[in-house]
Symmetry: C2
Subunit: 120 residues, 2 copies
């Protein structure tokens, strides 16, 4: 385990893991991405879709998503002004992570439920 190459590799994997968690590990980040995927493109629409999120938090999540290249903010200057948030292709790169997390989460929940039933 302690030869140079594999230790280096291991450190890189950990770094990558932490980078990923930093970007998508927020409480609301993935939910906002899912809402956008689901076709909700406007601020209040997204907020209504995601139960419990506040305007302040949604605003900051959207800014982070923009900075990270997941989302484009489009402003239509009209009457009234309409702002739309559009998922960029880069968001699709998360697909594997998302589905791995979802299927693990489902599996884990079933396990937890089985365990609880055993205790009854």
């Amino acid at each position: 385990m302690e030869n140079g190459i594999s230790a280096e590799k291991c450190r890189n994997s950990i770094k990558a893991l932490e980078d990923a968690m930093y970007v998508i590990g927020g409480k609301w980040t993935l939910r906002v991405i899912i809402a956008l995927k689901d076709g909700h493109t406007r601020f209040n629409d997204i907020q209504r879709t995601i139960d419990g999120i506040s305007a302040k938090v949604l605003s900051s999540v959207l800014k982070d998503l923009e900075e990270n290249g997941f989302v484009k903010r489009k402003v239509d200057i009209g009457v009234p002004i309409v702002v739309e948030y559009e998922l960029l292709p880069y968001a699709e790169t998360l697909q594997e992570v998302l589905s791995a997390l979802v299927s693990w989460g489902e599996m884990h929940r079933e396990k937890v439920i089985r365990k609880q039933e055993e205790l009854v």
Copy 2:
């Protein structure tokens, strides 16, 4: 999008996602799992392996991992008492999540670096 079945499915996926993030989303959780995978089984050994983790935090992470069925705590009553933490097979179910996160993190970092280089 708004028919009953797919909305229900969507809500379940989100729930699963949140469950997963709740279990593995802590700052140190995945790193502790990796250290255990790497063959570090004893408390101080793990702590030395993971740069920056405190005894208090390691202790609580290990307790959570035990509760979630990832880890078994084994006590050898001898002189001195030796405690060993052993990864259970259940931890292997995380493999897909881990590798998806690592490869996404690597890809994302490269993208960020490229972007920074463009700016120079």
